[in-house]
Structures are given as C-alpha cells and as structure tokens.
Symmetry: C2
Subunit: 162 residues, 2 copies
DNA sequence: ATGATTTAACTAAGCACTTAGCTACACTGG
DNA sequence: CCAGTGTAGCTAAGTGCTTAGTTAAATCAT
C-alpha cells in the first residue's frame, strides 16, 4: 500500500540521494492525516448547521458542566486560538442565539460566555453523531492500536511544544 | 503525564458519564499535535524568509527533479489545496523571483511553474534545517516507534478519505 | 467539421484566522 | 491613595484560504 507520502519520499531519494528524509514520513503524514480527518468531520457538523469552530465552542461550554459559563480567555486556551478569534466566533454564535455574553461578576473587565438552551440542545444533538463519525474513522484500528497512537501523538506534541 | 486532552476527557466523563468519548483521545490529539508541530516548523521557515506554504511549493518543485517544472494542477494535488490557492501562492512567489510561469508547450490552456535559480538556492538552504527541526521533534521516539506512528497514521488517513 | 462539454488557470468576493492597537478595569509599589 | 503596569475583551486591518465566476483552449459526439 503506497500512498502520497511514500511517493514524496521516493522523489526525494531520487533527487537528493544522500539526504535522510525519514522524518517526513511521520510529520508529513501527521499534517495530511489531520487535514483529511478534519475535512471528514466537517460533514457531520454541517448536518447539524454547525462548522468545526462553532462545534468546538459549544462543546467546550457543554463539557464544562452546569452552569455552562466560561470566559473568552479560557475558550481561547482550549481551542488554541487567539482571544480575538474567540471574540469573532462569539459574535457569530451570539447572533444565532446559541451563546450569550454576561458580565463577569468577579472581574469588571471580564465576560462570561453562557450556553443558551437553544445552544445546549444543538450541541447535545450533534455530539453523538460526531462521536460516531470519529468511531467510524478509528474502527480501522484495534483498541490497542488506538491507545498506542494516542500515546505516541502526545509524546510528539510534548516534544514539539517544549 | 496528564495533558490537555486528558483533562477534556475527564470533563466529558463528569458531564456525560454514559458517553464513550474515547475516540476523542485519538482524534483530538491528532488535531492538536498537528497544530503544535506546524507552529514549531514555522520558526525554521521564517529563519529562511519563507512560510509554510511557500516552502511547500518550492520543495515540491525541487523534489520533482530537473528541469524543476510542474503544472499548477499538480501543485494543488500535492498540497491538498484548491488551484485558486495555488495561483495566489504563485503570485507571491513569482513577485519575489523564486518561481516563474511558462506556457505549457503541450497544452495551450496550461502553465508550467519553474523553480528559478534563486528559488532553488533558497529551498536547498532551508531544507536541511527543516529536516533537522523535524528530527529534533521526533527524537523523542525510537525508530521503531516512528515507523509504527507512520503506519497507524496512514491507516487512519486511508479510513478517513474513503 | 463544428457545437457542446470539459478542463486549466486565473481573478473576485467572502470567510476565519492573525497581529496590532484600543478601552476599561485590576493589581502593585511607593 | 494613586501612578504605573498588567490583563480581558474588543475592533480594525491584513493574510491566505475557499467558492463562484471568467476566459480560453482541448476534447468529444455527431
């Protein structure tokens, strides 16, 4: 089973025979696999009138538990995006009535983002379908392989961030 | 070693005890790891006055071998982006003199993108540093683990694309 | 042959992110 | 106290992608 990354590595061997391009076999696949998987997940989001970033915000609020209130800062950390991007996501979600902004009673600068009832219904409908899509993609791996993959990925992430 | 994804899964267990969220352990880490790794790679590109997308185009041309000429269509396929995005990347690279466009002698509609001498020097300087960065990130894994990871990723990509 | 369809490459417009810069509030040291 | 510094959240401007639409050439069907 030869894939696109295999072909890329063959090309490098032909053009730069001395160069060890083996890291590309891992990191090239990492990027491409993430892209492919994400594009597959979007289909499920779209069926629920969501996109990946909206799903992300609503799911973060839901899993935070009642009373489903967190700060924009916290949302930015969880989603690995800027607080500015969060503000823009919230503008979109707020205009659809899926979240609301409230002043933070403990900090006059702060805001708390609340999941509305509409938003909660929406994310609770989408979540099981999303998990089903993820399960379908992963069904190609055994439980043990899935857990190996998770461990290897977390070691890489750790190495890349430090 | 508990990371962000571990914490997310704990939250889900608390909020939705019945739900099997184990797929998130894999797919959540996949996205986050890819993001983290890519942001690390950018540092090396910047040191060579490049960004990820420019590096991608120049590297694709280089590994295609002499005479370093390929079509925009081919570039789009390799980079997993639209031909429109390729046209815009080429506008930027052409204005910097790193690639040039030539008419395709075999197809009046077509264009061939050529790596200029300047572009070739640039990518050949950046490439070893880029590989060194990738190697540094991967040094946390043994050879065997790297190869396991590559195989598991390619199986996932295959499952997600079909 | 030639009209209809497909393909390659591009520009234009829209979208979601980034960084930079703003305002308002919180905290801290003298 | 309160002046100076730091922090939270926002808008504005810039970037690089997407989709939609354009042009011109190739291919295909009769």
């Amino acid at each position: 089973m030869t894939d696109q990354v295999d072909r890329i590595i063959e090309q490098w061997h032909r053009e730069k025979p001395g160069l060890d391009v083996s890291p590309m076999a891992v990191i090239g696949r990492l990027s491409r696999t993430a892209l492919t998987v994400e594009s597959r997940l979007v289909d499920t989001f779209v069926q629920h009138q969501l996109d990946a970033s909206s799903f992300d915000v609503l799911a973060t609020l839901l899993r935070s538990g009642a009373p489903y209130r967190i700060s924009p800062m916290e949302l930015a950390r969880e989603a690995m995006i800027s607080t500015s991007a969060v503000a823009q996501r919230l503008n979109r979600l707020e205009s659809r009535g899926l979240v609301a902004r409230e002043p933070n009673p403990n900090d006059g600068r702060g805001t708390l983002v609340v999941l509305t009832d509409t938003g909660k219904v929406m994310i609770e409908k989408a979540l099981p379908d999303h998990l089903e899509t993820e399960r379908a993609i992963l069904s190609t791996l055994s439980r043990a392989e899935q857990s190996t993959l998770a461990i290897l990925l977390s070691r890489i992430e750790n190495a890349a961030s430090s």
